[in-house]
Amino acid sequence: MARHVLRVNGKDHEVDAEPGDSLLSLLRDDLGLTGSKFGCGEGFCGACTVLIDGQLTRSCVTRVGAVAGKAIATVESLAAGDRLHPVQQAFLDAEAFQCGYCTSGMVMATVALLKNTPNPTEQDIARVMDRNVCRCGTYPRIVDAIKRAAQQMRTTTTAVGGQR
């Protein structure tokens, strides 16, 4: 066991862990951040997706030792109090879930996509979608949610830009 300092959602946490422990189990079991889900544990399904230094990362196959000092963002960081992040709002508006288990991973993947690609093409969206599975088969509405979110975020950015 060794002590690690993890920066999760803007706060430092000291945790005792083996360097090889998975970031996902640490987030869920030690920090109580259960928004990231365990689906496969082998980096395939995307349910555990978080952002590390802004990069899309599968937390189930990420070792604690590899992320010390880096900025880790989970789905819990998105909403500001009661105000949902536009991507979350878009998923709600599009009713883009059935059981909801894949949703936080899908939301995080969308956040990452739109950060780098505010104007995603169908191809860009398809690439994201190919890496996240939804067994309920809600794909058409998830795609719809991604498009809504993109549009919503573009309009807000323009509005803010205009004010400056």
């Binding site: 689906g39 879930f97 059935q98 288990y101 067994r135 088969g137």
Partner: protein
Amino acid sequence: MSSIDDALSGREVVWGTDNLFKSYTVARGDVEAAFAGAPIVVEGEYETGSQEQLYIEPNGMLAIADLQNGVTVWGSMQCPYYVHRALAGLFNLPAEKIRVVQMETGGGFGGKEEYPSIIAGHAALLAWKSGRPVKIVYSRAEDMVATTKRHPSRTKHRTAVTRDGRLLAMDVDFVIDGGAYCTLSPVVLSRGTIHAAGPYRCDHVRIRGRAVATNVPPHGAFRGFGAPQSIFALERHMDRVAAAVGLGPDEFRRRNFVHAGDTLAVGQVIREPVSMNTLLDRALALAGYHDKRRRFVEENGTRAIKKGIGFSTFMHGAGFTGSGEDHLASVVAVEATREGVVRVLAASTEIGQGTNTIFSQIAAEALGIDPDDVEVVQPDTSEVPNSGPTVVHHALVDAGVLPSVHSRAEFRAACRRYVDSYGTLRATSRYQPPPGVRWDDQTYQGDAYGTYAWAAYVAEVSVDTTTYEIRVDDFVAVQEVGKVINPTLAMGQIEGGVAQGVGWALYEDVVWREGRMANAQMTNYIMPTSMDLPEIRVHFEEVPYPYGPAGAKGIGELPMDGPAPAIFNAVEHATGISATRLPLTPERLMELMCASPAV
């Protein structure tokens, strides 16, 4: 013993005297006499593989247990009362000492009907023994290796037809592999057997259904419950019969569809209006079937990528089979609080199919209040009455019986007055089957289901003759499911079911090695992602069903039935290859195409 053939050969006996968990026979008319005089007889044999539900949340359970307080478990499950009954038996404790709470469940599709009883038992026993709370969460590999999957099947068809394409007799032998223990096999077999002759009129029918024992892990419930297996065989076979009499697949079916007043193989008279012709017309028109049917043949020629289009027509019985619904004795309670909030207490669980939303909507509509004023209580066996398992969106079929009242304000005032003067306002109601329904478990004759949903699905495919990959390019799903209570949820159920159907048809291959799943990982058990799926175009024809809640029939299982045979029929149109075994992976298609002189 790991196959149906092994079990039927009787070389080794692992169950009873003949390896049979259960068998049923449906008999109507005089099949042998009809075959004796028949001008055309078509035979076929069809096989389907196992399928893993692959809900993204693996099974998990938390238990506390001691002599004083009894046993409490919280976990991921579809049927809290199944778990309750299992634990009561396991611990030999009175019912009130066992409490089962369903937590938000990340998908089930039938895979969390039976198995949660086992993992709950393990967790509870460990808790009892250790005196500490025990939590068990399966890894993906454990979940895939240990839990129940869809029954593999083998169906033999022998069909007699007139020269002008009218069905004279159908002889069907339907066998499913139950695995090492019986579990839900009789119920799955029952639904598969009853659906084996489909929405067709035929006076002489014999269906023999058998569930065999083998040494693989037990198979269990999975969306569709046996019907997808027997419908795959039938709808593939119907295309071949059509070809044998020289008719198009659509014209042949039109000559044989059931209509109101006709009798199904189990002796059930169709009492409601049904128009398979209308559904088929609509589906074929939406898909541009006739034009493509002609055009693809002309265009395919020597191209490496060949296109094809095919369809399936089918029905799916609503609710539980035969006397199941009576036996399950569903009870739903409704309670109004002083503040005018209505609480619905039912053991039917939300697993992503929208039960809670639908319950709220039905209750709100019946009571003339806002859906936001309805609260669906979390299934907890200490609070909710046993309303039967959620299996089959039965959730819908049993919860529609709520008292009808007035406006929102009046309703609230009434609640306050009532609670102040008399205390708790609570009503329970028990599921009532539609009038005149009768079913005989002995002869397997009667009204197998209160009603049926009807459908026509069309698939368009591209077959790459270099890589042997099959892509579904377009999919049209037209169905009549009574009244659609919530269109968004209904569309989602159909899209999701079609996605799983595409997976079952083309990708999802459970590889068995010495009775154990050899590919228990998401990386080598392939399920479709959005890249593998076409746009799924969903259309509903609405004919309200008078005995369903708010006119609905239930839709969650139906969409699993149609995709596989439609896709196979389309592949035959594209390539001339008449595949009979699913999944049709590139490896299998390659074998078939290399062996075929025609291609």
